[in-house]
């Protein structure tokens, strides 16, 4: 990353990192660069983890289960307050988009490194987000809320099959069900409502047209509350069960005019929300016509943020901290230049040969690739144990090339030198993807993974 203008934090002296794993390490790095002291709250399972060793101070949150540590609002806020922190960075997942948490942090007199609670609220509820997007003039996928089987059948009739049932409180690909035929609707609806209730404590669902040949394209934005800019697109179409596997920037093979229109729509939404922080506006893009529809906005840093950092040279976590510190945006839109192409693959402790069964345990050796254009964001060292309590991401392998072809080549080479032993990983799957002619050509849609699996 290019070094930004030198910035000295004013309001933030001590930052509490309310997360774990690679993103905790990532936050510590940018905070330290700004001269901010870091405190991390960890569960018992992470007492010996790498972020624990790299933070300036460590506070124990509680036992390994997330509900008793990383997801426990009272414990996290109390630990942050006691540590003397004046700001809290929630990372992604866990409490990052939890309005109660953001408010509790503010009520305790600390800065929440993220958007204002009002923006979290507007974007956390997928139906509200749709309404706000429509207000801001963005196209949305045809659909509506439905609580009863009768209402659902009516909506389904107007939008057609296949369709998606989504949890209003869901996000990040969770709480979605695909329905292909009218006779499956009732059963799926019941299942979706009870799952949404269990996962989010909110059983509300809505129906949306399923775009068969869709691409998942998202736009990184940053705003200071009065002004917003975009940092280009990312394509995250390679997904398994709505979970992203491969991400790249910029989205390849989209006509320039459509590309610009997508970026501008994202800025329009961010400014409409008077958005203050880094955020991501997700779109569904028709793979043939390149018509696009607003899907949702993620009001946090995303797992795949490094590809944007690689092509723009902007440190997004640093921007989050600077904006949270009360400074106006340090960039104009014309300062942002997309150089080359970057690709990220998620190395998960899962066995792709056994239906992606999680593979926690001791990593006897973790030799990550290194070299020109190669970046690895990982908290996993040789000898570390991957606890079974959290998600399976053990590292993100990111490459940057002058062209997309060079990036693909670089990623293939990097995967050949990667040696993670002791647990199974998704690395072999990524090697297959990099060798796939459709991926090499660029611009695959969300069915790519299914088709890859089918041979």
């Amino acid at each position: 990353m290019r070094a930004g203008r030198a910035y000295a934090a004013r309001a933030i002296n001590t930052l509490f990192v309310a997360n774990r794993g690679e993103i905790a390490l990532r936050i510590i790095r940018s905070a330290t660069k700004l001269g901010i002291e870091t405190v991390i709250g960890v569960s018992d399972a992470d007492l010996a983890a790498r972020p624990t060793g790299e933070a300036d101070k460590v506070v124990r949150l509680g036992p390994a289960p997330s509900s008793r540590s990383y997801l426990n609002i009272e414990k996290v806020v109390a630990a942050a307050k006691e540590s003397g922190a004046d700001a809290v960075h929630p990372g992604y997942g866990f409490l990052s988009e939890n309005i109660k948490f953001a408010r509790a942090v503010a009520d305790a007199g600390m800065v929440f490194v993220g958007p204002d609670p009002s923006a979290l609220e507007a974007m956390g509820d997928k139906l509200k987000a749709r309404a706000v997007a429509i207000d801001a003039g963005l196209p949305v996928v045809p659909g509506d809320e439905a609580m009863t089987a009768e209402a659902a059948a009516k909506i389904a009739e107007s939008i057609g099959y296949p369709l998606l049932i989504k949890a209003v409180a869901g996000g990040g690909g969770r709480g979605m069900k695909r329905v292909d035929r009218p006779e499956d609707l009732k059963a799926r609806l019941g299942l979706a409502i009870s799952e949404a209730e269990a996962a989010f404590g909110d059983g509300r669902i809505y129906l949306e047209r399923f775009v068969e040949r869709g691409r998942h394209v998202e736009v990184q934005v940053i705003g200071d509350g009065s002004r917003a800019i975009h940092l280009g697109t990312r394509d995250c179409s390679i997904q398994r069960r709505f979970q992203k596997l491969v991400e790249e920037a910029p989205a390849p093979n989209i006509p320039d005019d459509k590309h610009r229109a997508i970026e501008n729509a994202a800025v329009r939404l961010a400014e409409h929300l008077r958005y203050r922080s880094a955020g991501t506006v997700e779109f569904l893009v028709d793979g043939k016509t390149f018509d696009f529809y607003f899907l949702e906005m993620n009001a946090r840093i995303q797992v795949e943020h490094p590809v944007t950092e690689e092509v723009t040279g902007v440190d997004l976590v640093e921007q989050q901290l600077i904006i949270a510190d009360g400074a106006p945006l340090g960039y104009q839109q014309r300062d942002i230049e997309i150089r080359g192409a970057a690709i990220e693959v998620r190395i998960n402790a899962e066995d792709p040969a056994s239906d992606f069964r999680p593979s926690p345990g001791r990593v006897t050796r973790a030799a990550w690739p290194a070299g020109e254009g190669v970046r690895v964001d990982s908290h996993v060292r040789s000898g570390d144990t991957i606890p079974p309590n959290y998600d399976s991401l053990i590292g993100k392998l990111v490459v940057h090339g002058a062209t997309r072809d060079e990036a693909v080549e670089r990623l293939s080479a990097a995967l050949r030198s990667l040696r993670v032993e002791g647990v199974m990983t998704t690395a072999p799957l990524h090697a297959r993807i990099m060798a796939d002619p459709r991926f090499k050509a660029g611009g695959v849609d969300t069915r790519f993974f299914e088709e890859l699996a089918d041979g």
Partner: protein, 152 residues
């Protein structure tokens, strides 16, 4: 604080760029926050992070020192791995320790060069250096007795 900054991915990239232009195939770094080995197997470079205090896998690194007691009531500091025994960090520099010096378990008493890697040897024990056995730059085998230490 500067010496203690977390390394960024760009730093790792830069280290590889420097090593690529040299004859070195491995670099070990240890600070109070982390341990890192950057190495190449001839085909590609890798970065391997290790917990502090953990035993390094494979060759090299700061292998733990073997401490054994000998018949004369003195403790022996033995070589963690085979290689060239050096008493000083570089030619002409004063030796790490002399006979009569007090040491603690973390005191670096020598280095052993193995396959182009400089491996520090820690005393591993409290006491006073009583005897230094190999000559400077002498080749020694793994587990060879390097020094004898009089316990406090």
């Amino acid at each position: 604080m500067a010496e203690d900054l977390p390394l960024s991915p760009e730093d790792v990239e830069e280290i590889v760029a420097i090593l690529s232009k040299s004859d070195y195939k491995t670099l070990d770094i240890e600070t109070s926050r982390f341990r890192l080995r950057v190495s190449s197997d001839g085909k590609g470079w890798t970065q391997e992070w290790m917990p502090l205090g953990a035993e390094a896998p494979a060759s090299g690194g700061s292998a733990p020192t073997d401490v054994q007691s000998s018949d004369d009531g003195l403790l022996a500091i033995t070589a963690p791995l085979p290689g060239a025994f050096y008493r000083a960090p570089q030619p002409g520099a004063p030796p790490f320790v002399e006979v009569g010096d007090k040491v603690n378990p973390d005191t670096v008493v020598a280095i052993i060069e193995t396959m182009k890697l400089m491996n520090p040897v820690h005393a591993g024990v409290d006491g006073e250096i009583a005897e230094i056995i190999p000559q400077n730059a002498e080749h020694i085998e793994a587990h060879a007795t390097l020094m004898k230490v009089k316990p406090p």
